[in-house]
């Protein structure tokens, strides 16, 4: 019984970690103020 509880705890922690990371995701940021280019840039 104690082994089962230990295994369930491990599984719950893994689920909580992955769900949290996925929910946080990556910030979408803001639209770049830079224009669409009509001149040839000198370098990348």
């Amino acid at each position: 019984m104690r082994a089962l509880i230990a295994a369930a705890t491990g599984l719950a922690l893994a689920l909580a970690l992955v769900l949290t990371i996925s929910a946080l995701g990556s910030p979408s940021g803001r639209t770049s103020p830079k224009p669409l280019l009509t001149t040839v840039p000198a370098h990348p």
Partner: protein, 330 residues
């Protein structure tokens, strides 16, 4: 004490073993996404190209034609469309600006491309367009999906406004990266005139009244890094002709542009470095961390079982009872 340690080890083993598939199949599709605010420019060049001189309406050889391609993510539009579509969406506004050897504009074609941030599947929404014409894209454009497969994909061609297969032609090595080589041939097709013409006073409508039409063919080649789905190099053997009508002075056709368009060397180096960096991040989610986590989980499980077995083994042999001693025989 040993019993507690083995239970803690078991919990850690299950944690690590469960983390492996969760990261690969749950977290990866949600975390590996094209950022909505991406801004990227690219310079391509066609050396010794043929270009139409609109003054004389004759094709002439020029040392270089430059194409500047910019992609800019519209975060606000992506948020709005994403909420309606119920999935993360990227909206790219792009501009292909073509410049002649004298620095003057040859053509400029804006596009709005809307797609799923992870799968790169097109998302159809108001505003999807090429040069002001509403379009409905099928397949991909500019970028392949993460974990690109060795198969043909539908690729959208902005000039014809249609999609057709881009064929997987094999695996190659490009600047130290394993890449998939794709090729698409667009046969001669009648295409619309660009809305912005290189000569003041000439409009697509005025050209259409002369009966002259624009035709185009291209062979498109991409070297795609399969983990990120990002092209690290691209080329086009591009030809455009004006055909028929009174504009050509009795000639059947005249070349408007012909050239072998290649990425500029400094942009190749920059793209390869960027893709190598992003490749490591994607591999961490799809391979490195899940595999290491699974291996660690198995190791911890073995350790937990070993500790448990030791706990259950009797520590000292039981002392023998005095009454059970064998009788002595004289």
């Amino acid at each position: 004490m040993r019993r507690t340690a083995s239970l803690v080890l078991l919990a850690c083993a299950v944690f690590c073993a469960a983390l492996s598939p969760l990261l690969r199949w749950y977290a990866f599709p949600r975390l590996a996404r094209i950022p909505a605010n991406q801004y990227q420019d690219m310079v391509l060049e066609a050396r010794d190209a043929t270009l139409l001189d609109y003054g004389t309406m004759r094709a002439k050889k020029v040392p270089k034609v430059t194409i500047v391609q910019t992609l800019k993510g519209d975060v606000e539009a992506a948020g709005k469309i994403g909420r309606t579509a119920g999935r993360p969406v990227v909206v790219w506004d792009s501009l292909s600006y073509v410049q002649g050897p004298d620095g003057r504009m040859v053509s400029k074609v804006p596009e709005r491309y809307i797609f799923d941030a992870h799968s790169q599947d097109p998302v159809h929404a108001t505003g999807e367009m090429v040069d002001g014409d509403p379009v409905r894209r099928e397949g991909i454009e500019f970028k392949w999906p993460f974990l690109t497969q060795r198969r043909d994909y539908e690729y959208f061609d902005a000039q014809t406004r249609t999609s057709s297969p881009i064929h997987y032609r094999g695996t190659r090595t490009f600047r130290g990266l394993t890449v998939y080589y794709f090729e698409q041939t667009v046969p001669w097709t009648k295409v619309p005139m660009p809305r912005t013409m290189p000569v003041q006073g000439i409009t697509p409508e005025s050209v259409a009244r002369t009966g002259t039409t624009r035709w185009y063919t291209t062979v498109r080649r991409f070297w795609v890094e399969p983990v990120t789905g990002a092209p690290v190099y691209g080329e086009e053997i591009h030809q455009e002709e004006l055909r028929g009508g009174t504009l050509l002075g009795g000639r059947a056709k005249v070349t408007a542009f012909a050239g072998h368009v290649k990425m500029r060397e400094d942009y190749i180096g920059h793209t390869v470095a960027l893709v190598k960096h992003n490749r490591t991040l994607v591999l961490a989610l799809t391979s490195y961390v899940p595999r290491a986590s699974l291996a660690l989980g198995l190791l911890l499980l073995a350790l937990a079982l070993w500790l448990e077995a030791r706990t259950r083994r009797p520590q000292h042999p039981e002392p023998t009872q005095p009454g059970e001693r064998e009788p002595l025989n004289a």
